[in-house]
Structure formats: structure tokens, C-alpha cells
């Protein structure tokens, strides 16, 4: 089963994403901030990471930089899921290596199809 790491400080958001992804064949691992997200990311081989931006301890942009700097996690596709919509911030994430940017609120079906598409692309 493909594993997805969901890093978001809202437990409600994490649970809803898990509930949507599990029937689609993904196992979801959760983390509530960037520091624990980074720890989890190194523990398994994730098919994809869904990453919030505004979080305690370490924000999503910092976590993205750490992921891409570590050869062990650099190739995991990362989708940012956030309220941020400014072009310069989105561009910064693209340059840092993110594969997508979803602006909250996003319908769960949309998140599932995006995860499936990116996981397929990564496998190819």
C-alpha cells in the first residue's frame, strides 16, 4: 500500500484527508508540525507528502527546504496545502522543489485525484 504523509496543524484536516485517501488505496501517516513531519518523513518511503504552510515549530516552507536538502527525502513529491495564494510564495515553493500548490479549502475529491496523479507521475 502506498503511504502518504500529511503534515498539518489541524487534526480535523489531517483526519479528513486520511478518510478520503484510504479508500483510494493510500495509507496515511499524520504529523502536526514541521519538526515532527520531518522526523516522520525519514522513517518510511512515502509516495507523497501533503504539507501545510502555517504551522508551529517549523513552517511548511522550511520543512520543504529540509526535505529537498536531504538525499533520503529529496525525491518524495510534495504538495503544499495552504491558504496562501500569493504568486511570489507559490513561485518560491516551485523553485524549492514542490510539485503542487492547493489553496484551502479544497474539496477532498480534488485532493485525492491530485495525489493519485502525482503518485502515478512519480512511479513512471
Amino acid at each position: 500500500m502506498r503511504e502518504v504523509l500529511v503534515v498539518d496543524d489541524s487534526q480535523t484536516i489531517r483526519r479528513e484527508i486520511a478518510k478520503a485517501l484510504e479508500p483510494a488505496g493510500f495509507e496515511v501517516v499524520e504529523a502536526g508540525d514541521g519538526v515532527s513531519g520531518l522526523e516522520r518523513a525519514g522513517e518510511r518511503e512515502f509516495a507523497l507528502i501533503i504539507l501545510d504552510v502555517n504551522m508551529p515549530r517549523m513552517n511548511g516552507m522550511e520543512m520543504l527546504d529540509h526535505l529537498k536538502a536531504d538525499p533520503k527525502t529529496a525525491d518524495i513529491p510534495v504538495i503544499m496545502l495552504t491558504t496562501e495564494a500569493e504568486q511570489t510564495t507559490i513561485e518560491r515553493a516551485r523553485k524549492a522543489g514542490a510539485k503542487g500548490w492547493l489553496i484551502k479549502p479544497v474539496p477532498m475529491a480534488h485532493i485525492v485525484s491530485t495525489v493519485q496523479a502525482l503518485a502515478r507521475r512519480a512511479q513512471a
Binding site: 489541524s10 491558504t83 495564494a85 492547493l102 479549502p105 491530485t114
Partner: protein, 211 residues
Amino acid sequence: MSKPPTSLPTAPHEFSPREAPSQSARRAADLPPQSSTAQAQRGTIDSLVQASLVELFQAYGIALAPMPRSLRERPPTLPDVSAMIGFATESRRSGRLTLSLPSAVIGLMKSEAPNGFRQGDWARELTNQLMGRIKNRMLQFSVRLQAGLPANLEPKLLESQLQSAPATMRAYTGRTLRGEVVVTVEGMLDDAELKYVGPNRVASEGDTILF
């Protein structure tokens, strides 16, 4: 040519001295009757906050009707669940946005009946998303807001804090079928400080961008 209405009078009875009496009288006739809570005319910030609030709740399937913004005369009575988020402008002015909503509204938004912790968690997330919408819309005025992290607040504590809030605090109420949602904003820029610079290449809520 008259200036666009970025700076409106703060209260219905504040008319420009340059205005002819007949115009003042006509405008006064168009206004709703004064209630015990002073009401302000809807300015740019009001429109922006109210539109953001309506759209946010609409995104979760809740119809919300915004009520006229009230100036602080007495703090609003708050529903059960509250959260706040701090923000700062580039000019280092800081402020705070709070969102309070009834448990029954949260119950409508979430399919699973959330318990106390989940309600607080969801109120924080909604506050964060409301701040995000306001922040994105402020970019068209070249205003960049830096948002902090959302936190829960006891509604009673918030009510007492609001009693000593500055007179510039704005309170917005929105009606839903399951009760009223209250938003307060302190430390926001005034309408007169906003200058429209046009759309700022901002993506929209719900957008998916694949790189």
C-alpha cells in the same frame, strides 16, 4: 471627478461639510434607523472582511448573511467556540482577528459530530482560513499581512477582553440558520490608508496548481 469611496464616513450621521443639506438629508433618508449599537457605513475593509466571511462559510455549505458592521459600543455576546489569530503589517502595525461560532454551525460543517477538542481545532482552522482570505484580498491594495498561528480563546475571556478593546475595533456578525457568527478585527488599516493597485496575481481559494 469625485474620488472613489475608499474613505467613507465612519458613522451615518457624519456628513461632509461640503455636502449640500439636501444631499445630506437624502442620504440620511436612505440609511437604516439608528439602533442602540452605532452602525457604520460599509467601507472597503468592511466589504473585504464580510465577503471573505460569506465565501468561507459558503465553501463549507453554510449560507451566512452579513449584518451591518457595528462600531464598538458594547462588546458582542459571543457564541460557544472562539479562536484568534494575530497579524502584522509591513509597517510593523499589529492586530488581531477573532472568529466565534456556535457549536451547531460546526456540526453543520462537519459530517462527524465533533467533540470539544475537535470543535476548537476546527475553529482555529477556520480562523486561519478567514485570515488567509483577508490577507489575499489585501494584496490588491499592496498591503502584505503577516499572519501568526491561530489559538483558541474562551468566549467569556474574549468578551471581557473586548470590553477594553480600542474604539477602532470592528465587529461583524453573520447570521446562519443555526445561530450567529461573530468576527472582530483590531489593528487593521483604515479605509483611507488603502490605495487600490489592481489584481496582484493571486490564485483563488480551491485552485490547484501543478508544477
